[in-house]
């Protein structure tokens, strides 16, 4: 009886154990964060990018809407978080150009509320703009959302917003995470919520639309409503992730949220596997760790005692290798790391069982 129960829930039990192990690991490196600064930076960045990547995967991978507006929604979240959380004593020195808006000068919000507020504003803007935009077909939708993200960026950087967003000068001294654990908890909650949405009845609607829009309509799914919900939820989490990114980077400017940020996240989604939750998370870690690991190629290096100092190894070479690797994935491993599958212990056990059967 007991064993049966164990086997039945093996997946959940193992997942919980793994999460606890992750927490313990993070707790240890958090405790001596002096020596692990580099590691902590990479983990925090990967976690934040995982949230954005998953929010993008929600629209692209699960609903089949090719939306490229993520950077714009992140910008909204990042700026709102920054505006409401920068300590009051620093504000005057940051808004040195035109001074700060009188209403905002003394207003602060606790960090979680500011982050959620950022997400909500992003979601509201997405809801309004989604009504006309979401009727567009695939590539038109892509270019329209890309345009939307550029419009948001232009508005933030415009001189008229100087007293609110500090225009093109950017914001500094944003309070950071108290430790990697805090970042893990925020990102973990976001990822969990998105996973719940994807596995809910709405999530099944999204997948039906992705597979065949006409057939989905025929079985009675309200296409427009489902698309709108997917777009709004995705934008909400993009806004939240923008707030987290602002906390991670501690200083933001409008140029951070250019089209290239969207492209970078899209490449994470593709690498991890379009339509896979765990794929996006793994993709984010692979990309961020890979970028750091390839750093050795930025300057002459030694391998097996030989000094390799060909002139090709200089600043920027890692990004060339990185983009070639990504092109290889896009061209030859179209499914990415995870394909449409999920990383669960059930699947791993199944995988090994199948292998065992083959050997027999």
């Amino acid at each position: 009886m007991k064993i049966k129960f164990l086997i039945k829930n093996l997946n959940i039990i193992l997942s919980v154990i793994m999460i606890l192990l992750c927490l313990a690991f993070l707790f240890i490196i958090d405790a001596n964060n002096g020596s692990n600064k580099y590691l902590i930076t990479i983990i925090e960045k990967s976690l934040v990018y995982a949230v954005v990547a998953l929010s993008m995967n929600l629209v692209i991978g699960f609903t089949g809407l090719f939306s490229l507006g993520q950077a714009g929604f992140m910008a909204i979240g990042a700026y709102i978080t920054a505006i409401f959380t920068i300590p009051i004593k620093f504000r005057e020195s940051i808004y040195y150009v035109e001074g700060i808006n009188a209403d905002l000068a003394t207003m602060t919000l606790p960090i979680p509320i500011a982050i959620i507020l950022g997400g909500l504003v992003a979601a509201i803007i997405a809801a309004i703009i989604g009504i006309p935009i979401l009727t567009l077909k695939s590539d038109y939708l892509a270019i329209a959302t890309l345009g939307l993200s550029e419009i948001i960026r232009a508005v933030i950087a415009s001189p008229m917003m100087n007293t609110i967003t500090n225009g093109s000068y950017g914001l500094k001294r944003i309070p950071s995470f108290s430790g990697v654990l805090e970042c893990f908890i925020y990102c973990g909650i976001c990822i969990l919520l998105m996973a719940l949405v994807i596995n809910s009845s709405y999530g099944r609607d999204f997948k039906a639309i992705r597979e065949d829009e006409v057939a989905a309509r025929a079985v009675g799914i309200d296409i427009f409503k489902a698309k709108e919900i997917s777009f709004v939820i995705s934008s909400f989490f993009a806004g939240v992730a923008g707030g987290l990114l602002a906390m991670f980077m501690r200083s933001i400017e409008s140029r951070t949220f250019s089209v290239n940020l969207t492209y970078e996240i899209l490449l994470i989604v593709v690498l991890g596997g379009i339509g896979s939750i765990t794929g996006s998370i793994i993709g984010s870690f692979v990309v961020n760790i890979g970028k750091e690991a390839l750093r050795v190629f930025d300057k002459p290096f030694t391998i097996f005692g030989f000094m390799v100092d060909w002139p090709i190894f200089r600043e920027g070479f890692r990004m060339v290798i990185f983009s070639i690797l990504l092109m290889v994935v896009v061209l030859f491993f179209k499914k990415g790391i995870m394909g449409g599958k999920e990383f669960t212990f059930d699947n791993i056990i199944k995988f090994f069982k199948k292998k065992g059967e083959k050997h027999e």
Binding site: F66, S138, V320, M327, L331
Partner: protein
Amino acid sequence: MQYFLEQCLIGISIGGAYALIAIGYTLVYGILRLINFAHGDIFMVAGYIMIFTTANFPIYISIPITIIATCILGVVIEKVAYKPLRTAPRMSIMISAIGVSYFLQNFATYLFTALPSNYPPIYFLKKQIHIGYLKTNMADILTPIITILLVLILIWILKHTKIGLSMRAVSRDYEAASLMGIKINNTISYTFAIGSILAAVGSILYFTNRASVFPYSGSMPGLKCFVAAVFGGIGSIPGALIGGFFIGLCETLIKAVGYSTFSDAFTFVILIIVLLLRPTGLFGEKIIDKV
């Protein structure tokens, strides 16, 4: 008034360069139904090729070299990044295009650093000209003329040559064209070659008035030119021409009034309005989706 007219001339000149790039988008979209996100970066690479060839050769040799090299680059990108995905879903090809764009930007950053490089002054194009009381330079006058001339040649190619005929056939119906014995792959290569040649010419005309190139200088003009192509109706060459001039003119006038931060955003506002009111653009054909 004088200021206004001078700004108009600049706008038309930028618009001409935009139109040339927009045609590249329109041609490729017409055939592959693909937004070639890398097109703007091809345009940027053409700028760098020009810098390096003028350092070693006189102008009249370096311009043809630039055009030929850009043309080869365009065709190679098609062969490497788009051809293997011919049967894949459209989203994969688009992601591949974004990947190519990412690669070209990183590669250019690696080779030439992220700092702007000086564009070689082409004295012939930089010459000051006075028309009445208007001051302008040769490039501003020549750009629209060259643009319209190239467009006329292109329309002639499309209407009266075998290549043009096959391009039109493929864009009308991909499968039927291949059944009728048209070599699809060759036709697509020609399309990319023509698009890249026009981008190279556009790049020379555009950067002459800018004086510097940097690795990201292609992405924004690239997107704007796509908007121009959508505005005119994607797949239509006169549409791309008019769209290019319209976007260039509007952008310059907005900058002239003093709202330069909004000039990029304005382009996208136009895009969204056009997509909502008339999704097929000014001259686009109506496409009916069949189940």
